[in-house]
């Protein structure tokens, strides 16, 4: 077994490490800890947090990648071990059963027989057309897809893609949005003119076209340099990161505009004037007085954007400029379901599975953010 570290894995673990360090450093500060306690004490807060943790755990397990060592049969003894070209994850190992128990093609959830008739030999030797029995009857909770893969397995694998798109894009977007938006609002004048000019320009280009163009360029680059990628997974991964970067670079304008307006209002507030009279520096005013007072906007926007990005991935993959078609993602599942819905009889479970998983993820994120925002607002009266 040989561990594989994809770029996106590294970023995801870096992000998690950052969050952990932050939590660790906050642990003794009562005033920082109390709001979070308050969130966890509310029923909605705790419930949605639990759901998010489950999703996150699945995503993290799915980010521990490795390549299996091939059974040593050929070649001289002592030669370097050969590794499979297929990259697996800890999640795959845990779900080995689900992963390997494939059928021939479609089967409905918990079915005993395939969904399509086949010609087969009856017990009397005559050719009959009927629904053949499954290899693993009642073994597929959410049915199987066209090539017989378990839909539950596919859905679980898609979670990582959704989380990555949501979190990494936000990570790319936030620095742009916060620095540019607040700088435009606070400094005004030429700085404001320039930043407004940039985001107006970005906003006036149709987003999907820009993303499609960028993705196609990246794709061409990947294909021109096959030597850089030793596995298919690595190629899909770079394409995913490129997508995150592009979505991030085009997606900061909304939040930046919101922050500019809010900072424009706040900078005339008297507490900012008082800080200026104390000779507090511009950076300190921005970080100590203005940033905390716009954090609620950032938090709400980030969550709405997170939900929006999970959904955008679906749309872009549907159009064909999203993640690699070989990658498991909700977008690819929905894209596949397009043809399935046109079949007679309809294959509905793949779409339904993608829908339910996305719905739960997005809803949990929204509810959690609501609770956090309420708890962080010092003006909200706390029931203790």
């Amino acid at each position: 077994m040989k561990p594989v570290l994809l770029w996106s894995d590294a970023l995801l673990f870096l992000l998690m490490a950052g969050v952990l360090v932050l939590v660790w450093s906050m642990r003794h500060e009562d005033w920082l800890r109390d709001p979070w306690r308050h969130v966890m004490r509310s029923r909605i807060g705790a419930g949605s947090a639990l759901l998010l943790v489950v999703f996150l755990a699945v995503g993290l397990l799915d980010s521990l990648h490795y390549r299996e060592r091939l059974p040593r049969e050929a070649g001289p003894p002592g030669a370097t071990a050969q590794h499979s070209g297929e990259v697996l994850s800890a999640l795959d190992w845990l779900l080995t059963d689900l992963r390997t128990r494939t059928e021939k093609t479609y089967s409905a959830p918990l079915a005993t027989h395939l969904y399509v008739k086949e010609s087969m030999k009856g017990p009397d030797g005559r050719e009959v057309r009927d629904y053949p029995p499954l290899q693993y009857p009642r073994g597929h909770l959410l049915g199987t897809d066209k090539v017989g893969q378990d839909v539950l397995y596919l859905s679980l694998k898609s979670i990582r893609t959704g989380l990555l798109i949501g979190s990494l894009t936000t990570l790319v977007m936030l620095p742009f949005a916060i620095t540019l938006g607040m700088a435009a609002g606070y400094f005004g004048g030429r700085v404001d003119d320039l930043i407004q000019y940039v985001y107006t320009t970005i906003n006036s280009i149709p987003g999907v076209l820009l993303i499609a163009a960028a993705v196609l360029v990246v794709q061409a680059q990947i294909e021109a340099h096959p030597e850089l990628f030793d596995t298919a997974a690595a190629r899909a991964d770079v394409r995913l990161l490129a997508l995150c970067a592009i979505l991030g670079i085009t997606g900061w304008t909304g939040l930046a505009r919101l922050l500019r307006g809010e900072v424009l209002k706040l900078r005339e507030m008297e507490f900012v004037q008082a800080a200026r009279a104390f000779g507090v520096g511009r950076l300190a005013i921005l970080s100590r007085h203005l940033l905390p007072n716009v954090m609620h906007l950032v938090l709400i926007t980030v969550v709405i954007d997170f939900s929006g990005l999970v959904l955008a991935e679906a749309v872009l993959s549907y159009v064909g400029v999203g993640v690699d078609p070989a990658m498991n993602s909700f977008g690819n599942m929905i894209n596949g379901a397009r043809l399935e819905l046109a079949r007679e009889p309809v294959v509905w479970w793949q779409l339904a599975a993608a829908f339910v998983f996305m719905f739960v993820l997005v809803l949990a994120a929204n509810l959690f953010a609501d609770q956090v925002r309420d708890a962080l607002d010092p003006r909200m009266e706390r029931k203790s």
Binding site: F271, Q273, A274, R276, A277, F278, G281, A284, H289, P292
Partner: protein, 625 residues
């Protein structure tokens, strides 16, 4: 003809909220005769606005009238079905609100808004309505051409006039004016009050004036009802009330007012706070703060009873339950005129008046020909096509330990001047010298050192404190920036010292600003300015957002600090009685220039400039003074 006017009896408003029962208005009764003006006087939170809304039947959904009777002429208002009430509202009973900026619809022309009322209540449309609109505008002193304007084209005073015209459209028998001039400048306030009084007498209307200002009530009203904690505590004719206020609360209200004749004395203060609306009252609601309370006050609620012709009071002092058991001795006391405010002489004015102008060397702050112009830019290339001269050549000087009041209407440039002095704005021209050093062109460390010498306290204690920071962090901020040599220990010690100095509990440092009342927040703002030990404090209308009793506390605090530390104040205000009480010298600003400057006593008694005379004449209460 039937009875006219408004009678209110035993009105009670309840709010049930999250299981708690609040009674913000309890047993309120008064009457307004035809062609009479009654003032409902009280500090914020006493229930006066809710009373007005209850009369209009415009209470918010959570609030309900649970007892009482309101008669408008012969109509029982509380018994009317809503449909009939709609005809009365804006018709026989109309109301003017405080905020002229929001009480007109910004997308409708003035004529259309007045026309709406005319059509609804008098069925006037077309040419007849047009003529009536012009007549109404004329009555409120607006040019007929103004009817085609949108509200944003009108000034604050003009909007209030337009609103009054709209309310007159229904030919009301009773007009309720809820703090109609609080958002306006002194000169405009004077015009609007005169207009209201004039309309009331000419039209034979009843006017219910809701105000917190004793002087406004004294100028306008025939009878005055003083409210405290949801109840009317004193109800008397104007003459009787202002000659002999009887209820201890009313007497306190008079005693806390800053007046020129109280110069150098401490203002009387009213300890404690108004009880919460959900408090359970066994005895008198004022008992906890009353200097003359005796055991009965805590056990038995007084009722509003007549003590003299045209004078009713809700106080046990006047109605001994049992003559001969010691309480009788108290009966005589309140009839005598209110005791004078305690005389506690402050320290003699430090340095005995500031140096005469010209001796700049002694001045702490010396402003010479200061100008702040804001460029007006037009067009694609934003070329400068002109400028707004907010401050246009102002010269001032303040000696150490002196108080200079800067007086003027809003928009005259006083706040811009303050910001330019602090270098929050770059002045266009002129010089600001602080302790002999020129502030112009200073940067970095040298500017920072001078910033320690002067600080500012703002008007609005709600926007001047960062809601996300704890009070301790707010107070430490200035020290972190200007006194970096102090360590955390020294900083928190100083925070504790300042909190104690401004009369806040020590645990205040760990709380957020929103947990404090307006007055307490203003104390925090003052403590913040003091942490860096400035020699000059710029006070930008520090008390105009506060109730009079809180204002007295803050003014006392400022006087104490000045006496102890020899601070100089630049006191920006529009309230002339505060100026007379507090300031040694006064500068009057108009249109970006100082039109008159001099010692306070001389200037207020014998103003030389025409503008100062107008300001003095417009101040409420000057007629009776």
């Amino acid at each position: 003809m039937s009875r006219r006017g408004l009678r209110v009896e035993g009105l009670r408003v309840q709010i049930s909220q999250a299981g708690r029962l609040l009674v913000p208005v309890d047993d309120v009764g008064f009457a307004i005769g035809a062609n009479e003006c009654v003032a409902l006087l009280g500090e914020s939170g006493c229930g006066k606005s809710l009373t007005a809304l209850a009369l209009m039947r415009l209470l918010p959904e959570v609030a309900q009238v649970t007892a009482g009777r309101v008669d408008l002429g012969d109509t029982d208002l509380l018994g009317l079905p809503e449909l009939a009430m709609r005809g009365v509202r804006g018709g026989r009973l109309a109301m003017i609100f405080q905020e002229p900026m929001t009480s007109l619809n910004p997308v409708m022309r003035v004529a259309d808004q007045i026309g709406e009322a005319l059509a609804a209540h008098r069925g006037l449309v077309g040419e007849a309505a047009r003529a009536e609109v012009e007549r109404l505008l004329q009555a409120v002193g607006l040019d007929a051409g103004r009817q085609w304007d949108y509200p944003f084209q009108l000034s604050g005073g003009q909007r209030q006039r337009a609103l009054i015209a709209m309310m007159l459209a229904g030919e009301p028998e009773v007009l309720i004016a809820d703090e109609p001039t609080t958002a306006l400048d002194v000169l405009v306030q004077d015009q609007i009050l005169k207009l209201l009084k004039d309309l009331q007498t000419r039209r034979g209307m009843s006017l219910l004036l809701i105000t917190h200002d004793l002087d406004v009530a004294g100028d306008m009203a025939d009878r005055v009802a003083v409210m405290y904690a949801g109840q009317i505590v004193e109800w008397a004719s104007r003459a009787s009330l202002y000659a002999t206020p009887r209820h201890p609360y009313t007497r306190k209200l008079f005693a806390v007012l800053p007046r020129p004749e109280r110069r150098g004395q401490r203002l009387d203060s009213l300890p404690g706070r108004v009880p919460a609306a959900d408090a359970q009252h066994l005895g008198c609601r004022f008992a906890d703060r009353c200097p003359e309370a005796f055991p009965r006050c805590h056990g038995e609620a007084p009722s509003l009873l007549q003590v003299a012709p045209d004078h009713a009071v809700r106080c046990h002092l006047f109605f001994p339950a049992d003559i001969g058991n010691g309480a009788s001795a108290r009966v005589a006391a309140p009839i005598s005129p209110p005791p004078p405010a305690r005389v506690e002489s402050m320290q003699p004015e430090p340095g005995e008046p500031g140096p005469p102008r010209g001796r700049a060397a002694d001045a702490l702050l010396e402003v010479r020909d200061l100008a702040v112009h804001f460029p007006i830019r037009r067009g694609l290339l934003r070329r400068v096509v002109g400028s707004i001269k907010a401050v246009d050549g102002v010269s001032l000087s303040i000696a150490p330990g002196e108080t200079l009041a800067l007086v003027g209407e809003s928009g005259c440039g006083k706040t811009t001047l303050a910001r330019a002095v602090l270098r929050l704005l770059e002045p266009t021209a002129g010089q600001v010298m602080l302790a002999g050093r020129d502030l112009a062109g200073l940067r970095g460390e040298r500017l920072r050192r001078l910033r320690r010498e002067m600080q500012i306290v703002f008007q609005d204690p709600f926007s001047s404190l960062n809601p996300r920071m704890k009070v301790g962090a707010i107070l430490e901020e200035g020290m972190r920036s200007l006194l970096p040599e102090l360590d955390a220990q020294a900083r928190s010690e100083r925070v504790a010292v300042r909190l104690e100095q401004v009369g806040l509990p020590a645990d205040a440092a760990g709380r957020h600003p929103h947990e404090f009342s307006g007055g307490q927040r203003q104390r925090i703002a003052i403590a913040r300015a003091l942490t860096v030990e400035p020699r000059l404090l710029i006070l930008d209308e520090p008390t105009s957002a506060l109730d009079v009793s809180v204002q007295a506390q803050i003014l006392n605090l400022l006087a104490d600090i000045q006496a102890r530390q020899g601070l100089a104040y630049l006191f920006i205000t529009h309230n002339l009685s505060v100026v007379g009480y507090l300031a040694q010298r006064v500068a009057v600003m108009q249109g970006g220039r100082v039109v008159e400057e001099g010692r306070a006593e001389t200037l207020l008694a014998r103003p030389r400039s025409d503008y100062t005379r107008r300001l003095l004449a417009a101040a409420p209460g000057h007629l009776r003074a």
